[in-house]
Symmetry: C2
Subunit: 380 residues, 2 copies
């Protein structure tokens, strides 16, 4: 597998573009084919989620239109009408996604104006322009693409806040030129999302709007299913890591790697509990090797474990073991602090003798998270 | 029921005292009788929790010794020996509690020295001195007492960080002079804790050390059980509100009152999810009436609800309805902001036609939470 530039437009048959004004962004991604989707588990589903689920059920998609700046969630029947209106703008069977403030009606005039300016193109600049148009509090656009044996998988995503496991996911839009039927696509996407986007936690919040779509344009013919799954996972994981690193206020990426769990679910639970812990996240921000907070998070994760099995390492530029088989060990606090102050930090935790592991993606918790969110509503 | 001064020492037969140095605090509360306890649900239980559970099983307690500054958690068998040693200091069947950093061995010499200075007394100054000695990042001591018909219930507590529902609780120590057997006490405590301490969330973290004890000294004879339950609930709720208000970095108290739930568990889930939400908490800090975050938190709480049943009000000095039956309503944003900037704010949410309600206690999320926790480990 080879990394490619060009994000979602690295896939043949896909064009994209975006436009922004001071409050909204609109992106259009065009490319037809059978499509798989995963959606938020929030009981309050945004209007665009409802509309996209209907569009998926009605046959192959022609693309997706995305609006940032307004979530079009908790907007009643009028919100659904607005989402249908927006999905119909490009002409064809389009999915629709939204992200932004909840509980406000979509400004159709603003969307219409921006839609007139999106000008989709098939080159890397198209993907970049779309990825930029869907940013809210994101600080950089999120694109990834890989080339497998005779096929390509590419995607774009947005994240930042209201990000937490057990979701369909934040917004992500993936394409492949491999020829795959809709049910296989759904299996591939579900599996890849489980270990990537669903393992990201920024703040424990599951949005009303989370959506991930994977469309096959079929331009390149068949592909080996395992290899294709690997490519989809690779793109999802790249985007998930970007979403984690770009969590609101984040200064670094955290990977929590759990091993020794008795079940895959226990491994995922334990990893996410540590990545979600505000006390672990603040310690990480402060470069403080307070591994007791990792122990406590593992203990209340719901995963089956016993204290005497817990071993913990901080890993970055070097590694330091801080706990072994249920006991603290002597360690160099200066060296541990140096690792924690790095740009990417991993916490490796063994929680038993089981054979299952999982990796969760998160970030530190800085005063910036509070600053971004104390006034977000005012910005619309 | 009448509020009393004097905290735990408002109960006849109870003496208390405390002492601090620059890193540790030690408190001693003396008073004999049958005792009920609730404990952390964290799979990693601290040594003092294990020892206290054994002491409770072996008969009536003579009191409790508490250490702040070191949690004596994740300290293996040596930690249990240290907790036994500490529990034996006063002589008699004493419970032991600890709070502070996890994964470091207890400094016996320091505890011993402080123990020599605790000098318990039966007056209000005794309760105050004990409540002060157990503070970690708490900014004020937490005491409450009420007088019922012929009996008194009093208690002290500590909270601040690593505070979240589904726990035994943070540290709380309650006494009553009503004569009650151990199994009735256990029923009373469990019921009161469920609606008070277990409804507090500061940061979604369940400590390894949470413990609440209720001892009956029996000095005043029998009491009406319902009235006694009301008094125990009153003291627990007062202490729980203090713990919420004094959450790390908090500038205000948040009460989330949910009604219309189909089951008591759904009501509690929904209330706690809103109180726990970092996005709701940052909006509260910023005085931003972003009710969409309340909607989203309700939606991912796990409670059964439908969007069209959700109504929300902000209540403080005045009240403002922001959503009614699934739709945003026009409201005065200035007035809503003024309410949210108050010292105590309630969010009232109706989630359906059911008959169950619950109240959760929380606080806002300020940059102070990050500041306190980015360096806590360094302070020991």
């Amino acid at each position: 597998m080879r990394l490619l530039e060009g994000g979602v437009c690295a896939v043949e048959g896909v064009s994209a573009g975006g436009a922004r004004d001071e409050r909204y962004g609109v992106a259009l991604v065009e490319g037809s084919g059978p499509t798989a989707g995963t959606f938020t588990s929030n009981r309050v589903r945004a209007a665009p989620v409802k509309v996209t689920q209907r569009r998926l059920a009605s046959g192959p998609l022609d693309g997706t239109i995305i609006c940032s700046g307004n979530a079009n969630a908790f907007t009643g029947e009028r919100g659904v009408e607005d989402a249908e209106w927006m999905a119909d703008l490009p002409g064809g069977n389009f999915a629709v996604m939204s992200t932004g403030i909840i509980g406000r009606r979509l400004d159709r005039e603003r969307v219409d104006k921006l839609f007139g300016r999106v000008g989709p193109s098939p080159g890397p600049e198209g993907s970049r322009s779309a990825a930029e148009a869907i940013m809210t509090t994101d600080t950089f656009p999120k694109e990834a693409a890989v080339e497998g044996d005779g096929f390509v998988v590419g995607g774009i995503a947005k994240g930042a806040g209201m990000i937490e496991p057990e979701m369909g996911t934040m917004l992500a839009l993936l394409y492949t030129d491999a020829s795959v039927d809709a049910s296989t696509l759904q299996r591939l996407l579900r599996s890849a999302v489980r270990d990537s986007f669903n393992m990201v936690t920024v703040d424990g919040e599951t949005s009303t709007n989370d959506t991930a779509l994977l469309t096959s344009t079929g331009r390149s013919g068949g592909a080996d299913e395992d290899e294709l799954l690997g490519a989809v996972e690779s793109v999802c994981t790249s985007l998930a890591r970007m979403v984690a690193r770009d969590g609101e206020g984040a200064t670094k990426l955290l990977e929590v790697r759990v091993s020794g769990a008795g079940t895959p679910m226990d491994a995922r639970r334990a990893a996410r509990a540590v990545a979600r812990s505000p006390l672990v996240k603040t310690a990480l921000f402060g470069g403080d090797p307070n591994f007791g907070r990792v122990v406590s998070a593992l203990g209340h994760s719901g995963a089956s474990l016993s204290e005497s099995d817990i071993s913990i390492k901080f890993v970055g530029d070097g590694e330091v073991a801080v706990a072994e088989r249920g006991c603290p060990v002597e360690f160099d606090e200066g060296e541990a602090g140096r690792i924690l102050r790095g740009d990417e930090v991993a916490i490796e935790a063994t929680i038993g003798e089981g054979e299952y592991g999982a990796t969760a993606y998160g970030c530190d918790l800085s005063p910036g998270y509070v600053e971004v969110n104390a006034a977000y509503g005012e910005e619309g």
